[in-house]
Amino acid sequence: MSDPRLGRLADVVVGYSTGVQPGDVVRIDGNRPSTPLIREIYRAAVRAGGHPSAELLIDETAEDLLREGSDAQLDWVPFDVPWNAEHGDVWITIDAPQNTKYLSGIDPARMARRVKGREAYQAQILERFARGEFRWVLCGFPTEASAQDAGMSLSQFEELVYRAAFLDAEDPVGAWQEFGNRLERIGSLLDSASELRVVGEDTDLTLGVEGRSWIRSNGIANLPDGEVFTGPVETSVEGTIRFSFPAMVRGRSADGVVLRFEAGEVVEATARRGEEFLRHMIGIDDGARRVGEFAFGLNDEVQDYTGSLLLDEKMGGTIHLALGRSIPQTGGENASALHWDMVCDLRRGGEVYADGELIYRDGAFLNGAG
């Protein structure tokens, strides 16, 4: 029997996150273990009157291309990618790794080359998303591989993911809408700030956010979700930040990362582990040295580091920033092939000041804002 939670998750994804309408062209894809969830999402999309198509993404072929492909092969983009970016209505992509480390042995330069070929389509999708012409969601699906990274059993990890997606609520969609009210209070507090200062262990960082929009992320583009984010003014970031958890991107990670910024650019980058990889990624293009995103994680169902970014960056009491590409609807203008999120835990002694005023301490907003 299929897990009844999958049907509930599919209802949230199709009915709320992407709001599939009759006639919508809906692309559903995911890694190989995601078939049971794809089936439920496909069914929900058919019932909503959409035209779904479903596809599995195969690790074996991705690995072969990255390992053995010529430059022409790495650069080439299959015909359905530009079509989806230009004409698709809805794209539901499921993160269901069968092995989170399968690309660990791949040359990052080759990986960057492949990403580069698709950058324009990625940008087009983000722009159409920002204009409301395209709906996109990344949905987590618990697998043995991600449970293993989180140091728990599959059924424990399933509990965590589904709780964080509010599937335990009587009415999960209602729970997301209600949660949206909390994000709105936090968002409107931040809307009036022009400069933020983050203070914590080995951390004292200032960012200009004047004129930028704070996006209340409540189950629309990610599931689970729960963050408020913006794109800071590109030249404004100053100071030092130490990240609490391993920073993972493209199947690799750097641990104990400390970054120092001057005039918006990384001028010093160190890591306890993976420092060479960190330096390589920061060097892939000009935008990779700048901050494309700054965010508060606000989902209190996530308390511990899991190694799954989709969960970790939402962890209540943390902030994260991303090196590289900004998200267009924030007003951020940083362009890069990279978007690398790194999470900093502020639950023990962390503080955030908005234009000099303390608004956040020990992982929580003050004065009932959140």
Binding site: R39, E55, T61, D64, L65, Q73, F79
Partner: protein, 375 residues
């Protein structure tokens, strides 16, 4: 460990069948159960300099649309699919069902609606294949479901499939298919001199007029395995009786002991020991569905038994098959239909075929070899 037969099959299809080369845009379609073959074809395509990508269907998705979709959803063909049909240089389709009967209980009217839309796109694709703009090959990856239909274990079925494709460890697949191709071409040229075939066997005495119709060799370029020569008969020329000892299957449903009587090209009587209603419904599909669109000789002698899969059954060495419904434009057909139903007639024990009165086939084989022209 990778099965070396899968590697050989992938090499054969990407090379011999599809002729992949530098810069060819190549799409591989299959269900998730076929991933070992999909991944292997992808790897060979990369090594040939092609630009491969995959469309891997999750199992159990298509039947949801069939069960729950409205008419518009059933008939919908994504615009991107249409465009890819125009843009691709090569295309492989891998059949590998997790359950061959998943669609069997669906409403036939709904299934018909879905297939009709699908066929329109497939026909467009065949237009590009015939024009030499696109290469296409369909093959099968063995699954438990197919093995079960064939009444074998998966290991036995794998031996059967890879044997029929000539990709066993000691086989030289390319040499085999190249020589088969020459033999089938010679046989086709010989059959093109024939005006009328008379097929005689148990319960069978059927005359089929083939005058003026091109015979085509199926030599592993569009199907793997392969091994038949076929044409589309003259629409008004079929006369007499034919009996099909193997179950006749369409869309997963079986009809047993089919007997057909033809007069002036059309079925005038049809009976079966089971599934007779379904048989009559299929024959009544449209104007063209009571007329033969194909007559063919099955010539792959590695395929020595019925396995409930048309990719193999129609090529069983020593059988003939005819298809009710639409014929092939390259074989000069005038018959148009939404149906194309292959029915297989076992001629291996007592069968005889006469070409304009001369015995050309006895007990499952041509009595004389066709002269192969070496070029």
């Amino acid at each position: 460990m990778r099965d070396p037969r899968v590697e050989k099959l992938a090499d054969l299809i990407t090379g011999y069948a599809l002729g992949l080369g530098e810069g060819h845009a190549f799409r591989i379609d299959g269900e998730e159960s076929a991933i070992p073959l999909i991944a292997s074809m992808y790897r060979f395509a990369l090594s040939r300099g092609a630009l491969p990508y995959t469309h891997v269907r999750p199992a159990g998705v298509e039947e949801i649309l069939l069960a729950e979709g409205n008419n518009e959803q059933l008939a919908y063909i994504p615009e991107s699919e249409r465009q890819q049909s125009e843009q691709l240089d090569a295309w492989a389709t891998i059949w590998s069902e997790s359950n061959t009967r998943a669609m069997t209980r669906a409403d036939p009217e709904r299934r018909k609606r879905q297939l009709a839309a699908h066929y329109r796109m497939v026909n467009r694709r065949w237009g590009r294949i015939s024009a030499g703009e696109l290469t296409w090959c369909g093959t099968l990856f063995p699954t438990e479901a197919h093995a079960q239909d064939a009444e074998m274990s998966l290991a036995e079925y794998e031996d059967f499939v890879y044997g029929a494709c000539h990709v066993r460890p000691d086989d030289d697949p390319i040499a085999h298919w190249e020589s088969t191709s020459a033999e089938l071409a010679a046989r086709a040229r010989q059959l093109e001199t024939v005006r009328e075939l008379r097929i005689v066997g148990p319960g069978t005495d059927l005359r089929v007029v083939v005058e003026g119709r091109p015979w085509l060799p199926s030599d592993g370029r569009h199907n793997m395995p392969d091994g038949e020569v076929f044409t589309s008969p003259v629409e008004t020329g079929t006369e007499g009786d034919i009996y099909f000892a193997f179950p006749s299957i369409f869309q997963g449903r079986e009809v047993e002991d089919v007997r057909l009587r033809f007069s002036e090209g059309r079925v005038v009587h049809a009976e079966a020991s089971s599934g007779e209603d379904y048989l009559r419904a299929l024959i009544a599909t449209d104007e063209g569905s009571s007329v033969l669109g194909e007559v063919a000789f099955g010539l792959n002698y590695e395929i020595d038994r019925f396995t409930r899969n048309i990719l193999f059954d129609e090529k069983i060495g020593g059988t003939m098959h005819v298809a009710l419904g639409g014929g092939f434009s390259e074989a000069g057909t005038q018959n148009i239909s939404d149906l194309h139903w292959d029915l297989i007639c076992d001629l291996r024990e007592n069968g005889e075929v006469y070409a304009d009165g001369a015995l050309v086939w006895k007990a499952g084989a041509f009595v004389a070899e066709a002269a192969v022209e070496h070029v």
